[in-house]
């Protein structure tokens, strides 16, 4: 098997990277009809598997689960999830042969093994569905030619997929058809129906391609979403300790601050987040983030280049083959950081205080979101895709840090994201060394406005506002957010 993207001629690479069409709600009027009465069999009953299945069944579709033998015999959590919610559960041999659609919701790392096991059992003309295209694009998995291959990728954790559905809404979703496997031309219609079944059509659907989804998803998760949030959190905490800020306070500010700050992104984009600062703090955050962008741009570009060339996947898969040697070492090192080991103090921090006392994180987030977005767009990824994989997901990941710090984030995100996150973090920390020596507690730990008179220069404020508001991530974001105005806000402790 070889990297699918690299087998394509440049023309076709660009062609597939450029598939990006924000779909009109009128395209979903047929509802789930295309899949009505068809047998949907989901492989794996984890975060996505269970919640997508609950939604699909509540939309009137016929859903059952197939698990590996060990999971059934050992009555593992996946088996309990499925049976206690009254789904039929069976082995591959029992359920795959009669399935019209086989939905692969196992961890990405397992896909090759899982697909090799189920493919021979699949009936002629069946459909194989993914929620992430890594296996097809990076591993180059070849699927039997009679099988249709589609993707429906919710851009939210599984629990949100369920919570938003039952309140009558959904989560933004990417759908795609693999051009090598669409023998009957039914792929798109089935992907749309499946998307309706999960409720995604109510929150905005982006027609994408396997290639565009994978290349943008990898980039987003390893740079802004996980990588930079991890680096920023660790550096901020260490700085506060170095400057004598109470450790419990510092731990709490970092753990919850990133969630509170990025919550503002969800509603008003980078502009909304920056507007939470006082004028002098905003100008400072802008300047600092400009500097951060200059420092980190080459690193973001390197990540994007390695993702495009397949180098990233090659190295990561080598580590898989090597028993996850690097991954486990990095995971252990993250667990040993002072931030991870210091529990949040029992102090009350008001919502606004998270902005005023943690201006550095605002600067990190702005720099990271804009850099990730710009780098993706330069690499040929369309702005809509780039938006979902940068700004849109940032608050969702930040929420995992609020729950249980970096440990929780790295547990919840995919294998590929965790690996990429550490890779970025390792490279980014030394890069920011000089920058961090200049940072003081006015940017992190204490109120930036303290002892300042609040005056600013009109011209520079106007110029900064203009620069923030006209950035493409803002203009495209405003359009896409309109389609999901009702995104539930996350309540914090």
């Amino acid at each position: 098997m070889s990297n699918y993207f690299n087998t394509l001629p440049l023309r076709e690479q660009l062609n597939q990277l450029g598939v990006c069409d924000f779909m009109d709600s009128g395209e979903f009027l047929d509802g789930v009809n295309v899949l009505k009465g068809k047998k949907l069999v989901i492989v794996g009953c984890g975060a996505q598997g269970l919640n997508q299945g609950l939604n699909l069944r509540d939309s009137g579709l016929d859903v059952s689960y197939t698990l590996r033998k060990e999971a059934i015999e050992g009555k593992r959590d996946s088996w309990k999830n499925a049976t206690e919610n009254n789904f039929t559960v069976g082995t591959y041999e029992e359920l795959i042969p009669s399935a019209d659609v086989v939905v692969n919701l196992t961890p990405d790392k397992q896909h090759t093994a899982v697909v090799n096991a189920i493919m021979p059992l699949m009936k002629q003309g069946a459909t194989l569905l993914y929620s992430h295209g890594f296996n097809i694009v990076e591993e180059g998995m070849q699927i039997r030619k009679d099988i249709t291959v589609i993707m429906v990728a919710p851009k939210c954790p599984g629990s949100e997929v369920r919570a938003e559905y039952v309140r009558g809404f959904g989560v933004p979703t990417l759908i795609a058809v693999h051009p090598e496997n669409n023998p009957e031309g039914k792929g798109l219609a089935q992907a749309k129906a499946y998307c309706v079944g999960t409720g995604g059509h109510r929150a905005g659907v982006l027609r994408s391609s396997f290639v565009a989804e994978v290349k943008s998803d990898l980039m987003g998760e390893q740079t802004i979403l996980c990588g930079l949030l991890q680096t920023g959190s660790i550096l901020s905490f260490d700085k506060m300790i170095e400057k004598g800020i109470d450790a419990g306070y510092a731990s709490k500010l970092v753990q919850y601050g990133v969630e509170v700050i990025t919550e503002a992104l969800k509603h008003g984009g980078v502009t909304g987040m920056m507007d939470r600062l006082s004028n002098p703090a905003k100008i400072k955050a802008f300047e600092v983030s400009e500097e951060l962008k200059d420092i980190m741009r080459p690193l973001f570009q390197k990540h994007q280049d390695d993702i495009m060339s397949g180098e990233f996947s090659r190295v990561m898969m080598e580590d898989w083959a090597n028993g996850d040697k690097n991954l486990l070492a990095w995971r252990a090192a993250t667990g040993e950081t002072a931030f991870e080991k210091t529990p949040a103090g029992d102090v009350k921090i008001a919502e606004q205080e998270y902005f005023d006392n943690y201006t550095l994180m605002v600067a990190f987030v702005r720099a990271g979101v804009e850099l990730a977005f710009e780098t993706m767009v330069q690499a040929g990824i369309k702005p809509e895709s780039a938006y979902y994989e940068s700004l849109h997901e940032t608050p969702l990941i930040a929420n995992t840090i609020a729950r249980k710090k970096l440990f929780e984030m790295n547990r919840v995100i995919s294998d590929t994201a965790e690996y990429g996150c550490y890779l970025f973090d390792q490279a980014c920390k030394p890069l920011l060394k000089d920058f961090m020596t200049k940072v003081d507690t006015d940017l992190v730990g204490k109120n930036f406005n303290e002892g300042k008179d609040g005056g600013v220069d009109n011209q520079s404020l106007i110029a900064i506002n203009e620069a923030l508001r006209t950035h493409q991530v803002e203009t495209i974001g405003a359009k896409l957010r309109k389609a999901m105005t009702a995104m539930k806000s996350i309540k914090t402790a």
Binding site: V32, K36, G37, L50, L54, R57, D58, S59, G60, D62, D77, K80, N81, E84, N85, N86, R162, A163, V166, R167, G168, F169, R202, A402, R403, K404, E408, T485, A486, K488, S489, I490, K491, T492, A493
Partner: protein, 488 residues
């Protein structure tokens, strides 16, 4: 013993920029137990929160505790609302989450919750069992917080306060959601702690209150007005009789006839525990039922099956609208035909929606509004909001309104599409007597046109007059079905 314990002078308090309390004065002496009653929205909760130091107010509140007493020298406020968090400190719950099984427990159990409360206040663990037993809560110790119904959450709050026995205890709508046995037992327990030295302030419009209550008051125009005990159940004068909006009574499409609900040996279990056992029940179009049962008898689970909210519906022999559940229907097709209100629906409802959005969302069965409703639905929404007297709150966020007003908005949401079936699970919780009677009259009107009704209420006096049939649950089983009650 007649030293003032609480002395309030010139208390002023605003809620959402509107004055609620204006130069209020109140003295509570050592041997007094007070009942605060009156209209919803008059400021009772604000006053209670001010005394407990939970909200900002102007003026003077002096509380003198008796330092020689054993009882903890503190004011403890039992809110009219309950709150809980998951193990990670978050409260992002959704309505159906109680019914979806996820292998990993995300919330604490009742037992660990109580243990940590006891530890915090250094309470004797042996005192707990009698309280739990009296409130019929002993069985729930191993339940997780997410699994509790609203009545059970109320009990958990009460258990804590009765165990704590503070010197001053303020209970805000303590009877909400409690069955009649639990109410009686609560009153006995309150009398006991009063005897032992706890002073009570009770906020309630119920008739049955503990015997030790010896002072009564209402809040009128921001001031405390003492009344005699027998005066409190007199009806106010503010009886609004607006005509029911025509779109709800005119042109009602022909209701389908025949069987709507058919349950054959329906059983719901969580692990070993069965919450519904072999339920057999049939409901035909146009019938008016009342559903009775003690807290924990399985009422809300039964209703969740009907509303398409329970995943175990798919594993049972259960027919809705003539189709077996799981034969290709979507839950949205089911919800379209049902108007539902329940304490749980209220609790989990999107708090950041405005009143207007909440009401109009009844057309779509969603929690919050996700599309443009168009002209005719918009104007019907306006009309109904006026009918419920909520005009001035149209653009107010739900979580900024007092409980009673929130409830009115959700009642409007329930009926706005004039559904074939109304499922009203304690619809009038948090409303005063007048509002309750008014709403029940509206239900009678709506039901004239062949609407099917399933009504849950713990008190006969609070039930619409059109009710004709009764199903009684006990410990998850059908205890009795009566098909011609209240008709003679």
């Amino acid at each position: 013993m007649s030293q003032p314990v609480v002395k309030i002078t010139n208390l002023n308090l605003k809620y959402q920029h509107k004055p609620v309390l204006q130069d209020l004065n109140w003295t509570i002496k050592g041997d007094e137990h007070w009942l605060l009653c009156g209209e919803s929205g008059s400021g009772k909760t604000s006053l209670a929160k001010a005394i407990s130091g939970l909200t900002h107010s102007y003026g003077n509140i002096e509380i003198t505790f008796n330092q020689e007493r054993e009882l903890p020298p503190l004011v403890y406020y039992v809110a009219n609302w309950f709150q809980f968090k998951d193990l990670e400190g978050q409260s992002n719950f959704y309505y159906q989450q109680r019914y979806n099984k996820q292998s990993a427990e995300t919330t604490a159990t009742v037992k660990t919750e109580l243990e940590s409360f006891g530890k915090k206040h250094a309470l004797p663990i042996d005192a707990l069992d009698t309280i739990l037993a009296a409130l019929g809560f002993s069985e729930q110790k191993d339940a997780t917080l997410i699994q509790l119904s609203s009545g059970e959450h109320k009990k958990l709050q009460l258990v804590k306060s009765l165990w704590l026995k503070p010197q001053l205890l303020i209970l805000d709508l303590p009877y909400n959601g409690l069955d009649s046995t639990s109410r009686r037992n609560l009153n006995t327990l309150l009398e006991e702690i009063a005897k032992a030295g706890t002073q009570l302030i009770l906020i309630s419009n119920e008739t049955e209150v503990p015997d030790c209550i010896n002072r009564f008051a209402m809040i009128k125009e921001g001031q405390l007005v003492e009344i005699a005990g027998h005066e409190r159940n007199l009806k106010g004068t503010k009886s609004v009789n607006r005509p029911v909006p025509a779109f709800l009574t005119d042109a009602v499409s022909l209701r389908p006839s025949g069987e709507i609900i058919k349950m054959i040996d329906v059983t719901i279990s969580y692990g070993e525990k069965k919450v519904l056992k072999n339920i057999n029940w049939e409901v035909n179009a146009g019938e008016k039922w009342v559903l009775h049962g003690h807290n924990g008898s399985g009422k809300s689970t039964l209703l969740s099956l009907i509303c398409g909210d329970h995943p175990q519906a798919y594993a049972n022999n259960f027919h809705l609208f003539g189709n077996k559940r799981g034969s290709g229907e979507s839950i949205w097709e089911i919800k379209e035909r049902i108007g539902l209100i329940s304490p749980e629906l209220h609790w989990y409802f999107d708090p950041s929606a405005t009143v207007w959005q909440s009401v109009v969302s009844g057309f779509y069965d969603s929690s919050g509004l996700f599309c443009d409703p168009g002209y005719s639905k918009k104007s019907q929404t306006d009309e109904l909001i006026s009918y419920f007297g909520l005009d001035e709150y149209k653009n107010t966020l739900m979580n900024e309104l007092p409980l009673g007003k929130q409830r009115l908005a959700l009642l409007a949401r329930t009926i706005i599409k004039n559904p074939e079936i109304l499922i009203l699970d304690e619809p009038c919780q948090g409303l005063d007597q007048q509002q309750t009677e008014h709403f029940n009259r509206l239900v009678d009107d709506l039901c004239k046109n062949g609407t099917t009704l399933i009504y849950v209420g713990h008190f006969d006096a609070q039930i619409p007059s059109c009710i004709e049939k009764r199903i009684l649950l006990e410990n998850g089983e059908v205890k009795s079905i009566e098909t011609d009650i209240y008709t003679n």
